[in-house]
């Protein structure tokens, strides 16, 4: 591929050489004395001479929605398109492709048919120089990001794994110490024996533990203390049975809320669109992902690097998993129709006997997702932030005021309740948020 491009680039300069020999010679001289950009702006010259930076800006603003350089998108790949058509044709095509197709231009009709009669936007505002710049930009090589050398110690393993390794090594060292001590002790003894040295055994004093047992008061106090601590920890352990706080299963696609909701600030409701109006927030169906990922087939090089170094994930491979599941053929930019479900593992899940409704809290109550789900926009891997116990629900109902403003439907009830409790602000509990029947069917 890359070879191909360089070939073409050479070809261009060749073709232009004979006709503009004198200019090129001049250019040669100039390049030695003047910096490249100055040269580009002063002379109207072959493709490479045009301003690729301006071209890049124009391309990104106008064309990138449909064209990529090296890959087919809505429209054809544009790398090296300057060789495919002559310049005049390109000017009129880009300024108004529809008119060209209508006029029956053979090349125009051919490419129009090839792309299923998708219409390319007209760009009457672009000047010929702008178009020259864009075409020049299409000859640039893809940037290769030079990966900085991995700092020692931060290999592509996740933090948890390396911690485990360190712990393992520590305990191994510890074990070896014990064994060595034991061996040294033994050899010393043997040595002493063979030398006929009597190892001084200390005269038998009553050992401390015997003294301890004999002191009944001490025994009593310690056992009470022991019982209490055991009780404390035992209670703690039993109370957390059935509470999945911190639960973070491995998902079929490594989907990062940090990247989507954090760095790229995508609204929670964009994906969890039913939170606004129904009981469940819902996990987005894959067509929602494809709204963006039709365009984003690969993450940026820096993102990829960060993924590999900090989290040990190949983000691009994860996007490929998404493509496989929806059946998106990147090559041809079309759905193949062969799909497979993505088996997201459900994390937050109340038992069946409890009723929780998102729209009631998010839309009516105006509560932020983060209040219950924690700092989701920082989570690389989704985990359960809150305990989701009954105590947690009840506490919040006791503390949180209901949103009275702009709630026409319940104005009357709110007024009555406010009168009853003699204050303006009502908590959810005072509205009846502690009644068993509200949460238990």
């Amino acid at each position: 591929m890359d070879n191909n491009i360089t070939d073409r680039m050479e070809k261009v300069s060749y073709r232009n050489l004979p006709s503009k020999l004198s200019l090129a010679l001049l250019a040669l001289v100039l390049t030695f004395s003047i910096s490249n950009s100055a040269f580009a702006s002063t002379t109207v010259l072959p493709t490479q001479a045009a301003d690729t930076t301006a071209g890049e800006a124009l391309f990104k603003a106008n064309c990138a929605a449909c064209h990529k350089l090296g890959k087919k998108a809505t429209g054809p790949a544009l790398r090296g398109v300057g060789d495919k058509y002559d310049r005049e044709w390109l000017y009129s095509w880009i300024k108004n492709s529809t008119a060209m197709v209508k006029s029956g231009d053979a090349q125009a009709v051919a490419i129009y048919e090839e792309y299923n009669k998708s219409v390319m936007t007209s760009f009457p505002a672009l000047t010929n120089a702008d178009i020259d710049n864009i075409i020049a930009y299409t000859y640039t090589q893809p940037k290769t990001v030079v990966l900085p050398p991995t700092p020692p110690g931060t290999e592509s393993s996740g933090g948890g794994v390396s911690n485990n390794i360190i712990l393992g090594i520590l305990s191994l060292v510890f074990l070896m110490l014990v064994v060595i001590l034991y061996l040294v002790n033994n050899t010393l003894r043997n040595f002493a024996k063979s030398q006929g040295i009597e190892v001084e055994e200390k005269e038998a004093r009553t050992p401390i533990w015997k003294l301890f047992i004999q002191n009944q008061f001490l025994v009593l106090v310690t056992s009470i203390l022991l019982l209490l601590t055991a009780g404390y920890f035992g209670y703690g352990y039993l109370m957390q049975v059935g509470v999945d706080q911190g639960y973070a299963p491995v998902q079929p696609i490594h989907y990062s809320h940090r990247i989507h909701a954090g760095e790229n600030q995508i609204d929670c409701n964009y994906c969890h669109s039913s939170a606004r109006k129904s009981k469940h927030s819902g996990i987005p169906s894959l067509n929602v992902c494809m709204n963006c990922h039709k365009n984003i087939g690969e993450v940026a090089a820096e993102t990829q690097l960060q993924g590999e170094q900090e989290f040990g994930v190949d983000y691009n491979a994860e996007i490929q998993k998404l493509y496989k599941a929806v059946g998106w053929d990147e090559e041809n930019q079309a759905y193949t129709g062969v799909t497979e479900p993505v088996k997201w593992v459900r994390i937050h899940n109340l038992p069946d006997f409890a009723y929780f409704n998102h729209s009631q809290h998010v839309t009516v109550g105006g509560i932020e997702c983060q209040k219950c789900h924690g700092p989701v926009e920082e989570m690389e891997i989704m985990s359960q932030h809150s305990p989701l116990t009954m105590g947690w629900c009840i506490n919040c109902h006791r503390e949180t005021n209901i949103k009275v403003e702009g709630n026409d439907y319940y104005t009357k009830i709110h007024d009555e309740l406010a009168k009853k409790y003699g204050k303006d602000k009502l908590t959810a509990a005072e509205m009846g948020g502690l009644e068993c029947g509200k949460c238990h069917y």
């Binding site: 009457p124 790229n264 479900p341």
Partner: protein, 220 residues
């Protein structure tokens, strides 16, 4: 000396055991439960995984031919001709009210602003971070953006922009359309759409006659 040795070994055993225990309490598995039969539902649960379903997932596409509640037929086809036709003749049936404008803005900020920017100038966060490129401004002279066109584009998407029919319903799409037309007017420096001096009742009727629930498309 020997007792010393023993206690050392004891300590070692305890240490190794704690390390093992701590590293066992993984985040990847759900906790133990008391009486799981009280917690685990008999019925099929939302997002559950069960053998009976094709692909083992409870979450599935709606059956062929399903019509969501409140769905209204949309007659324009997903083609260039359809788009041009919608641009030319489809108009917003929704009465302009302060409420619909506010709703439209809220929804626009959720669904469209990541790409098109809160001002509609094509400078959303994804564009600024160069994740998605080439988002047009609504005031782009090469595009003739009309109410019908905006609705049509939300319904079917256009080239690299996807469809929003699965996330919004008909009413919401028209509310967004109102906001988009306002953004375009603001970009071009034209007068904004403002609520007509209408009696309260007509607006309410208008809103009620629009289906509140159900998504507008069979595609999900």
């Amino acid at each position: 000396m020997i007792t010393n040795m023993k206690s050392l070994i004891n300590i070692a055993v305890v240490l190794v055991a704690t390390v093992a225990l701590v590293s066992c309490s993984e985040q990847g598995k759900p906790n133990f439960q008391y009486m799981p039969n009280m917690y685990e539902p008999v019925g099929y649960e939302t997002y559950g995984e069960y053998e009976v379903f094709a692909g083992q997932m409870e979450a599935m596409l709606p059956a062929e031919g399903t019509i969501p509640r409140g769905w209204m037929p949309y007659d324009y086809e997903d083609t260039t001709e359809g788009l041009n036709l919608a641009k030319a003749e489809l108009t917003n049936p929704l009465e302009v009210s302060l409420e619909s404008l506010a709703e439209g803005k809220a929804l626009y900020d959720i669904y469209c602003a990541v790409c098109h920017g809160t001002k509609g100038d094509g400078q959303g966060i994804l564009m600024q971070r160069e994740k998605i490129l080439g988002i047009p401004s609504y005031a782009d002279p090469g595009r003739n953006i009309t109410e019908g066109g905006v609705y049509h584009v939300q319904m079917y998407g256009l080239n690299s922009m996807g469809s929003y029919a699965s996330q919004t319903n008909e009413l919401e799409r028209w509310q967004i359309t109102q906001h988009v037309m306002n953004l375009k007017a603001a970009l071009k420096g034209e007068p904004l759409i403002a609520p007509k001096v209408a009696t309260e009742e007509t607006t309410e009727q208008e809103l009620e006659s629009m289906p509140e629930e159900g998504h507008g498309s069979t595609e999900h």
